[in-house]
């Protein structure tokens, strides 16, 4: 093991920091145009979209775990925008790079990177959640177009998106998994109706999406007909990794420590309370194990090796830490738990952790419930027989 930065990585770090000094100021954070310009420049410099080849609008850098870490930390340090958030970048782009046609890569990836195309993930249906492969939304090829009929649900941000990547049953006579295809289509069309659903925290982020003869061009299918399940597996793998990014857990934990310094408990900063210290240190153990396992995975990935069972644990680790942080936060903030944060009236105080309590539940469900993740760990990781 060697965690020291080499000469060349130190030089890279300096280069990134100089780049940020000349190209980013925090007052730009509210200016969408300035943010796009910044992203373009940072991509040009090789700092963003490193895994995306240049011809598709990325910076096409060879994988380098340490450089990625340097970029992430330096950008986070000055709150500079990183890659476009959302499932388009996290799930669709890697999937297209793996399984898409040349034409699909050219027409979809660059516009996804700039944010012109925003994608919704159309997998879950009312009857098909954990048992996703039982999905029933139908796709039929008629006169050079897919006609799509059926319904998706829990589709995050569909009402703010331009496009959807969806799993659709196109081969009704084939088996459960073999009948599914991976289709892309536009959301702004007469055959699509989107109804946002209110979440427990009062936000309207996830949606019901109804299809009545919604249309997609015949070649907007990723992979062959009936290969959608396999194609989506590569997408799900990306989702588990991204949701499971240990750095997210660490950021959240660091914020909780900051909160504990600020909050008064028994007339002293909460961070001085022995119970709070014990609880935070316990969580930190979990966070650091998650983070170090993340470094190990990155090293394995860089060397083309398989990280083994820890590679199946990212989502579950993030979920468990999210629950622990929510519970510890509720002790730290005390009676502020009684208040609902209201972002409309300004920046909320300690009560913002109330929202975290709820969001930690969303994280436990989205992208596959904890039971399904535990089944994966037990069956694929431990080699136990299936039910």
């Amino acid at each position: 093991m060697d965690l020291e930065l080499s000469e060349s990585h130190l030089a890279f770090q300096e280069e990134v920091e100089n780049f940020l000094v000349s190209n980013w100021r925090s007052d730009l954070a509210k200016d969408p145009e300035a943010i796009s310009v910044f992203r373009r420049t940072a991509t040009g410099a090789g700092y963003l979209y490193r895994n995306v080849p240049e011809i598709y609008g990325g910076s096409g850098q060879s994988p380098d775990v340490l450089k990625a870490k340097i970029i992430r930390e330096s950008f986070a340090g000055v709150r500079a925008p990183r890659e476009m958030p959302g499932v388009g970048m996290m799930m669709l782009v890697p999937t297209l790079l793996d399984c898409g046609s040349e034409l699909q890569k050219q027409s979809f990836i660059p516009r996804t990177l700039t944010g012109e195309y925003r994608w919704a993930q159309g997998y879950s249906e009312p009857g098909a959640g954990s048992d996703l492969a039982s999905l029933r939304t139908k796709g039929e090829l008629v006169d050079g177009h897919w006609l799509i009929n059926g319904q998706k649900i829990w589709t995050t941000m569909a009402h703010k998106c331009t496009h959807m990547f969806a799993l659709v049953r196109t081969e009704p006579d084939a088996g459960k998994h073999a009948g599914i295809s991976y289709l892309l289509f536009e959301l702004d069309q007469p055959g699509v109706t989107i109804r946002p659903l209110k979440q427990m925290n009062g936000d309207k982020e996830f949606c019901e999406v109804f299809f009545e003869d919604a249309r997609a061009p015949a070649d907007w299918i990723v992979g062959e007909r009936g290969e959608g399940w396999r194609v989506s597996k590569s997408t799900l793998k990306h989702e588990r990794n991204s949701v499971g990014a240990a750095s997210g857990s660490k950021d959240l934990f660091d914020k909780l420590v900051k909160q504990a310094r600020k909050t008064t408990l028994n007339e002293r900063p909460a961070i001085e309370d022995p119970l709070v210290r014990d609880r935070l240190a316990k969580i930190q153990g979990h966070v650091m194990a998650h983070l170090c396992a993340g470094y190990y995975q990155l090293s394995c990935d860089a060397g083309g090796a398989d990280a083994g069972i820890v590679g199946l644990m990212n989502k579950m680790n993030t979920t468990v830490i999210g629950h622990e942080i929510a519970a510890a936060a509720s002790e730290v903030i005390g009676d502020s738990n009684l208040q609902m944060p209201d972002y409309k009236v300004g920046r909320p105080g300690a009560e913002k952790w109330v929202n975290q309590q709820m969001l930690s539940l969303a994280a436990a469900l989205g992208g596959g419930t904890s039971n399904i993740n535990l089944n994966i760990i037990a069956e694929r990781g431990l080699g136990l027989p299936r039910d």
Partner: protein, 356 residues
């Protein structure tokens, strides 16, 4: 040994269930939940008609002369229907005034409160009777100044019974000019809250030092209320596991889910008897009554939040919606757990009270 509710207590429980299941069915509750958080007039009138307010007031003063256990059982039922009224606070305020040993307090306030002509709330410090950082102070014994956070139903209430430190209780009229009631967006919309700012507000001090007893009673009622929330979440989850199918079978057939539900039951069901016991200890003033109040509030608060969170997970995506009322009980559980001191804080108090 008889660890049962009395027939009378069971009758009260059943009549409340009858009343709420009609006026606050889940369907109605979900509709009402979108309104501005406020006291629910219809339910309040129904509770007054049942004569609940005087439940702990001695018969000699026109009440029912019953005990905290009875009120705790009523609080559980209200919680399981997420009833948006200050009944528990009203009842405890009536009890405190009845026991105040002050003719003035009794003559001025007891009857209007028992009849529901005036609405009373409690403004207790997190630290119980001892006072604490947000303690209100009274220099002259006639006025009180300071801030008290998160007072339930303060926007509607006419009076508040306050803890003033050193075991003292006081009564203030909230419609007085010197009182500012700062509205706060409540997490639990079935129990709206305000911050109270008092500036030389006239106060009547209770001759009897009742603050500790009142605080302990309030802890027990919130524990009972947390139980009501937990039990509803458990029941809804079990029902759902019997109807939702995935992979061609009921999800309740998966052993993992069975165990989760069994654990939720294991956490929840025995805890009912802990709150009964704590209420009974308070009623007969056992030596460990104070400790049991703290322990029971800590335990039930935590059990309820954990159970409600588990219930969201059992329901999958629909569990995260506003449409399904699970979140209403999750939020009630979070509020019950946090008010008057979090579980860790109450456990620390309990350990001290046990002289560990």
């Amino acid at each position: 040994m008889d660890f049962h509710l009395s027939e009378e207590q069971e009758m009260i429980r059943d009549s409340l269930v009858g009343c709420y299941s009609q006026c606050n069915s889940d369907e109605l509750l979900v509709q009402k939940y979108d309104r501005e958080p406020a006291l629910d007039d219809e339910l309040w009138r129904a509770q007054l008609a049942l004569g609940l307010t005087g439940v702990m007031v001695p018969e000699s003063l026109g009440g029912l002369g019953m005990d905290l256990l009875t009120l705790a059982v009523a609080a559980e039922v209200s919680a399981s229907y997420a009833v948006a009224t200050p009944m528990e606070y009203q009842c405890l305020a009536a009890w405190a005034i009845a026991c105040s040993d002050s003719q003035t307090l009794i003559e001025t306030w007891l009857q209007p409160i028992v009849l529901g002509e005036k609405i009373a709330t409690l403004a207790l410090s997190d630290e119980g009777a001892e006072g604490g950082p947000d303690s209100l102070s009274t220099h002259d014994g006639a006025t009180v100044s300071g801030i008290r956070r998160f007072v339930p139903f303060a926007a509607e209430a006419d009076i508040a019974v306050l803890t003033l430190g050193d075991g003292k209780l006081g009564l203030v009229e909230l419609r007085h000019d010197s009182v500012v009631r700062e509205a706060v967006a409540p997490l639990d919309r079935s129990r709206p809250v305000c911050h109270l700012r008092l500036d030389s507000t006239p106060v009547v001090i209770f001759p009897e030092a009742l603050a500790q007893r009142l605080y302990d009673a309030a802890l027990i009622l919130h524990a009972a209320s947390a139980f009501g929330a937990a039990k509803r979440c458990l029941d809804m989850s079990v029902e759902y596991a019997k109807v939702r199918e995935q992979f061609g079978q009921l999800i309740g057939q998966f052993q993992a889910l069975k165990h989760q539900l069994a654990h939720m039951a294991l956490d929840t069901e025995p805890a009912r008897f802990l709150y009964w016991y704590a209420a009974h200890c308070w009623d007969i003033e056992t030596e460990d009554a104070r400790q049991m109040a703290a322990l029971c509030k800590a335990h039930l608060g935590e059990v309820a939040v954990d159970t409600a969170r588990a219930a969201v997970e059992v329901h999958g995506g629909i569990g995260f919606t506003w449409e399904l009322p699970i979140h209403i009980w999750l939020k009630r559980a979070m509020a019950d757990s946090a008010i008057y001191g979090t579980p860790a804080r109450q456990r620390a108090r309990s350990a001290e009270l046990a002289r560990w």
